[in-house]
C-alpha cells in the first residue's frame, strides 16, 4: 500500500525548500530594482505556507518511505512543484494564462526550454533568472533522480549499469549512501556551473547573461534571456564555450564524479556511453557542416561548421539553443538533429530522450538477433563495458522503447487531431518528449509555443513530464496494481 500521508509530508518539506529558492530572484529583483519585485514576496509566502500546511497536516502519518512511495513522490514533485513555480509569472504577467505559465514552469523544471513567452529581452532580469533557475534546479533534480534514486526504485536508464561491474568499471557504485552520492553529484554540478559562468563571462557576455545561460546550459534546458537566443550575441567564442559545456552536461554525472574523485580521464574512457555520445555528436557536426556547404547554405566550410556544430550539439544534447533559424536549412539537417535528440545524451546526464545506453543496447540486441539466425545454437550475450547485460534488462529496455514510440504516436495524433499540421505536431511532441525545446514548422527556433491552443499546450506539458521521468516512473502511478493493498 502506498503511504500517501508520508509522501505528502516529504512533499511539504520540498515545497518549503523550494520557497527559499524563490528568494534568489527576489534578491536579484531587489538589487536590480526591476518591476517584478512585488511578484516574489507573495509567491514565496504562498509556497512556504502551502508547504508548511502540507507538512504539518501530514505530520502524524510520517513513516519511513518504501520504494513504492518513491514513485508517487517523484510524480507528485514533478507536477506540484511547477504549479508553485508559476506564481512569479502569474503575478507579474497579469495576462498570462495558467496553462501557459504551467507549461513554462514544467518546461523549465524538466530542462526542456520550450517557451510560450516572447519579448524576453524586455522582461525584468529577475524573471529571466527565475526561468533559468528552474532549469538549473530541474537539472540538479534530474541528475540525482537518474543516478541515485531511480536505480533504487528499479527503473530508469542507469539501473542498467547498477549491478556490480567487474574490471575497470568497479566503482560505478559511487558511494554507499544516497545522500552522499547526491552531495557528490551536486558538487560536480556546481563546479561545472561556476566554470561555465566564468568562461561565458570571459567570452564576452555580461555577468547576468553569463549566469542565466550557464544555468540553462548545465541543465541542458535552453531558456535564453534573448528572443534571438544565441543569435543575439553572434560570437563564435561564446558559442564555442557553450558547445563545450553542453557536451559536458550531456555526459553521465556519475562518470564526472568518478573523474573528479580520481582526478583522471580514465572513467570517461571506460564509460560505455561517453565514447559513442561524443562520436555521434562530432561526426554529425562535420556531416551537417559538409551537407550545408554542399547545398550552398553557407559560403565557406568554417561558417558552415560554426553554425552546424552549435545547432547540432544544442539539439542533440536536448538543450534547444539556436544561433540561426535552422528551420530554413534543407530538411535533412533539422530532421537529423531531431533524430539525434532522441538518443544522443548519456543516462544520468541532464539531457532527455531514450539515452545512449538504451540505444546501444537496442543496436546490440538487433545485431544479436541477426547472428542468431545464422547460428541458432549460439549463446550471444549483450555486453556493455565488458559486462554482460541480463536479458530481463534488455526486455525492460524493449518495453521502454515500445512505450516511448507509443507515447510519441499518441501525442502526435492528439496534436494532429486538434488541428496542427503534421510537421509541427510531430516535432513539437519529439521536442517535448525529449525535453529539448524548439521543434520545426510553427514551433521552430524563431517562433515559440504560444501559437498552440490550451489543449495542445497541455499535451506538450504532459509529454515533457513523461519524457523527463522516463515514462515508467510516472505511468506506474496510474496502474491499478500500484494502488492495490
Amino acid at each position: 500500500m502506498v503511504r500517501v500521508g508520508s509522501v505528502l509530508n516529504v512533499l511539504g518539506v520540498l515545497l518549503m525548500i523550494f520557497a527559499f529558492a524563490m528568494a534568489v530572484p527576489f534578491a536579484v529583483s531587489f538589487f536590480y530594482g526591476d518591476a517584478a519585485l512585488h511578484a516574489y514576496d507573495a509567491a514565496v509566502l504562498i509556497t512556504f505556507t502551502a508547504g508548511l500546511a502540507l507538512w504539518a497536516g501530514s505530520r502524524g502519518r510520517r513513516r519511513e518511505l518504501k520504494p513504492r512511495d518513491g514513485f508517487l513522490l517523484v510524480a507528485l514533485t514533478w507536477t506540484v512543484v511547477p504549479a508553485f513555480a508559476t506564481l512569479p509569472f502569474l503575478i507579474y504577467l497579469q495576462d498570462l494564462s495558467f496553462t501557459d505559465a504551467y507549461f513554462e514552469a514544467v518546461s523549465g523544471l524538466t530542462t526542456s526550454g520550450a517557451t510560450t513567452l516572447s519579448g524576453l529581452d524586455k522582461l525584468p532580469p529577475s524573471i529571466n533568472l527565475w526561468r533559468s533557475m528552474l532549469i538549473w534546479i530541474g537539472g540538479m533534480g534530474v541528475v540525482v533522480l537518474a543516478v541515485a534514486i531511480l536505480p533504487l526504485l528499479g527503473a530508469g536508464g542507469s539501473q542498467i549499469m547498477r549491478a556490480e561491474t567487474p574490471g575497470p568499471m568497479k566503482d560505478t557504485k559511487l558511494t554507499p549512501r544516497i545522500t552522499e552520492t547526491a552531495k557528490g553529484l551536486w558538487v560536480v554540478y556546481v563546479i561545472f556551473t561556476a566554470a561555465a559562468i566564468v568562461s561565458l563571462k570571459m567570452a564576452g557576455m555580461t555577468f547576468f547573461d553569463a549566469v542565466v545561460h550557464a544555468f540553462s546550459t548545465m541543465g541542458l534546458g535552453g531558456f535564453s534571456s534573448h528572443d534571438q537566443s544565441f543569435g543575439y550575441f553572434n560570437s563564435p567564442a561564446i558559442e564555442a564555450v557553450t558547445i563545450f559545456f553542453m557536451l559536458v552536461a550531456g555526459i553521465n554525472f556519475g562518470t564526472h564524479f568518478l573523474a573528479f574523485r580520481k582526478l583522471s580521464f580514465r572513467p570517461y574512457r571506460f564509460d560505455p556511453e561517453t565514447g559513442a555520445y561524443l562520436g555521434v555528436a562530432i561526426l554529425s557536426c562535420l556531416g551537417i557542416a559538409w551537407f550545408l556547404l554542399a547545398n550552398n547554405v553557407y559560403p565557406s566550410f568554417w561558417t558552415a561548421l560554426r553554425y552546424a556544430s552549435f545547432n547540432v550539439v544544442s539539439i542533440a544534447t536536448t538543450t534547444g539553443f539556436a544561433n540561426t533559424d535552422f528551420n530554413q536549412w534543407p530538411i535533412f539537417a533539422p530532421v537529423w538533429m531531431l533524430f539525434l535528440s532522441c538518443f544522443a545524451t548519456c543516462s544520468g546526464s541532464t539531457g532527455g530522450g531514450i539515452k545512449m545506453v538504451r540505444a546501444e543496447l537496442m543496436v546490440r540486441q538487433a545485431l544479436r538477433e541477426m547472428v542468431r539466425i545464422v547460428h541458432p545454437r549460439a549463446l550471444i550475450p549483450i555486453k556493455l563495458a565488458g559486462q554482460t547485460v541480463e536479458n530481463n534488462i534488455v526486455f525492460a529496455v524493449l518495453a521502454f522503447m515500445l512505450v516511448y514510440g507509443g507515447t510519441m504516436t499518441t501525442m502526435t495524433m492528439l496534436l494532429a487531431a486538434s488541428g496542427l499540421d503534421i510537421v509541427t505536431a510531430f516535432t513539437a511532441v519529439v521536442a517535448s518528449l525529449n525535453n529539448m525545446g524548439p521543434g520545426l514548422g510553427q514551433v521552430g527556433p524563431t517562433s515559440n509555443y504560444a501559437v498552440l491552443n490550451d489543449f495542445q499546450t497541455w499535451v506538450c506539458t504532459a509529454s515533457m513530464l513523461l519524457g523527463r521521468l522516463e515514462l515508467f516512473s510516472i505511468l506506474v502511478v496510474f496502474t491499478p496494481a500500484f494502488w492495490r493493498k
Binding site: V371, H375, P376, R377, A378, L379, I380, P381, K383, T388
Partner: protein
C-alpha cells in the same frame, strides 16, 4: 625422495604416476576414498583420506619428514593453506602448489616466504593452453617446446615428401639454410630411434626433432615439409577450464568457435569471451558440426573432460572435412592407439604439464624437463656447476664428454647467447645445457653428470 601429493584429481594422479616410476615414496591425500582406492590399485603408493588443509591429515600423510609437498587439489585456497602449514609447522623444504586464479600471481609477495611460502606455482590448464596455442601457431609441428625462457625451441615435425631436406643427408641442411644454426637432435623411424649423423638421410614419415633458436623455427619446419596455409578458423569442443583459456588466448588472432554442452557454462563463457562464438551443443552432434561448417575449420581441438568424446568428435570432424584435428586424451593406451592415425595430434595432459614439476624432483640443477614421444624420450635443460676438477663437464669439449649412448647435447645457452652444440664446443660453468635423451632409462645417468662432485661440497 619422500613426496606428499595433495589431491587425487586428474593432475594429482598423473603426477603420482610419473613420480612413482622415478622411484619416489609417494603419499596421496584426497577427500574421496574411491579415487584413492583406484589409484592405490594401480600404483605403488600410500593413500590418506581427509581434507588436505587439516594439519592432522597432513601429519598422518607423513608430512613431517617429507622432502616435498605438491598441493594440486581443486581449490586454490586449500593448496595455499596446505603449503603455508607445510612450511611453518612441518619445515617441508620444497612446496609446489597448483594455483589457477591469476589474482594470486599478480604480486610476488603473495606466494613469497613471508606469506604463503610456495616455491613453484603451477597451473596445468595454462601450460596445456600454451602448448596448444604453439601448435596452432606452427600447424606443421607435432610439438613445440621451449628451453631457457624461450630462447631455444625444440620442434618435432613429421617429414613429408616435398620438404627440401627429405631424401637428403642431414649435412645438406647447412647448404639450404646457411644463416640458420640448427641441430637435428634425434630422428624416430617407426618406433626405433636413429642417432643423427651428418650422412643420415631423412625419409618421409620420419619424426624429426630439431633444436633451433626460437626465431628460426619456421624456416626449419619448411625444410621438412611443404608449409600449410596458416590457421585462421579454429573450433574448440569443450568449454571447461582449458577450452575457455584456449578461446581467450586465440580469439583476438583467429576466428574461434567454441562448443559446450552445459547451458549455464555457455552463459559464463559467453560473458567472459569477447569475439569467440559460443555454441551450445554436443561436440559429437553431426548436424551441429555441419551447421557450423566444420569442413571450413583449419583446426578442430577437442578438450572436453571425456577421452571418448574427444576422440569421437575429432574423428567425426576429420571425416566431415576439418583440415587438422587435435584431441586431448588422458589415457595413455588411447594415445598410443591414435597418434599418427586419424587424429593428427593426441595430447596427453599429463605429459605436457609434468615437465615443470619433474624439474624440481630431479637431482642436479635441472631447470626444465620435457617429455617427448609420450614419455618414452625426454629433453632436459640443466645448469652446469663446479669447475674443471670437481665436475665431469666443465672445460671439456663436447666430443670428450662421456654421455650414455642414446643421449646427446643439443645446445648450450650461455647468458643471452645460444650456441648449437658442435663436437669442439667447450662447456663452461653456469652454462645451461640442453640434453636430448632418446630413452627414458638413461635419464639418471645423465643427471649424474650434472651433480657436483663430493669434493666440491
Amino acid at each position: 625422495m619422500k613426496i606428499v601429493i595433495l589431491g587425487a584429481g586428474q593432475v594429482g594422479s598423473s603426477v603420482a604416476e610419473s613420480l612413482v616410476s622415478e622411484r619416489n615414496d609417494i603419499t596421496v591425500v584426497d577427500t574421496d576414498p574411491v579415487r584413492l582406492r583406484n589409484l592405490q590399485d594401480r600404483l605403488d603408493l600410500r593413500t590418506v583420506t581427509g581434507s588436505a588443509s587439516h594439519p592432522t591429515v597432513l601429519v598422518e600423510a607423513g608430512i613431517e619428514d617429507a622432502d616435498m609437498v605438491i598441493a594440486v587439489t581443486q581449490s586454490d585456497e586449500t593448496n595455499l593453506v596446505a603449503c603455508k602449514l607445510a612450511q611453518q609447522l612441518f619445515n617441508v623444504p620444497t612446496r609446489i602448489a597448483r594455483i589457477r586464479a591469476t589474482d594470486f600471481l599478480a604480486e610476488e609477495r603473495i606466494l613469497g616466504q613471508e606469506c604463503f611460502a610456495i616455491d613453484l606455482a603451477i597451473c596445468p590448464e595454462q601450460v596445456l593452453t600454451d602448448y596448444i596455442v604453439k601448435l596452432i601457431e606452427f600447424p606443421e609441428a607435432l610439438q613445440v617446446l621451449e628451453f631457457a625462457d624461450g630462447k631455444v625451441s625444440l620442434v618435432a615435425v613429421r617429414a613429408f615428401q616435398g620438404g627440401p631436406l627429405v631424401g637428403h643427408q642431414l649435412q645438406d641442411i647447412r647448404k639450404h639454410m646457411p644463416s640458420v644454426d640448427v641441430r637435428i637432435a634425434a630422428i624416430f623411424r617407426g618406433d626405433a630411434s636413429i642417432l643423427p649423423e651428418g650422412d643420415t638421410v631423412v625419409e618421409a614419415g620420419d619424426e624429426v626433432f630439431c633444436l633451433a633458436a626460437a626465431e628460426h623455427i619456421r624456416q626449419v619446419l619448411r625444410e621438412m615439409r611443404r608449409m600449410d596455409k596458416p590457421v585462421r578458423r579454429v573450433m574448440i569442443a569443450g568449454g571447461g577450464n582449458i577450452g575457455w583459456r584456449l578461446a581467450e588466448a586465440l580469439e583476438s588472432n583467429y576466428v574461434v568457435k567454441i562448443l559446450e554442452q552445459n547451458k549455464r557454462r555457455c552463459e559464463i563463457l559467453a560473458g567472459r569471451l569477447d569475439s569467440a562464438l559460443v555454441l551450445q551443443g554436443d561436440a559429437t552432434d553431426e548436424s551441429l558440426l555441419e551447421a557450423e561448417n566444420v569442413d571450413e575449420m583449419d583446426i578442430f581441438i577437442a578438450v572436453t573432460n571425456d577421452d571418448e568424446n574427444n576422440i569421437m568428435s575429432c574423428l567425426l570432424a576429420r571425416r566431415m572435412g576439418a583440415r587438422r584435428v587435435v584431441a586431448l586424451i588422458n589415457r595413455r593406451s588411447y594415445v598410443d592407439l591414435l597418434q599418427a592415425g586419424q587424429i593428427d595430434i593426441a595430447i596427453s595432459p599429463a605429459q605436457a604439464t609434468i615437465g615443470t614439476l619433474l624439474a624440481h624432483v630431479r637431482r642436479g640443477d635441472v631447470t626444465q624437463v620435457h617429455a617427448l614421444r609420450r614419455g618414452a624420450a625426454e629433453a632436459l635443460e640443466a645448469v652446469v656447476h663446479g669447475d674443471a676438477q670437481s665436475g665431469p663437464l666443465v672445460g671439456r669439449r663436447i666430443e670428450d664428454i662421456e654421455l650414455p649412448k642414446g643421449a646427446g647435447i643439443g645446445a648450450i645457452v650461455r647468458g643471452e647467447e645460444v650456441i648449437m652444440a658442435h663436437h669442439d664446443t667447450v662447456v663452461q660453468a653456469e652454462d645451461h645445457v640442453i640434453v636430448f635423451v632418446t630413452n627414458k632409462k638413461l635419464v639418471p645417468k645423465v643427471e649424474k653428470l650434472f651433480q657436483v662432485g663430493v669434493g666440491f661440497v
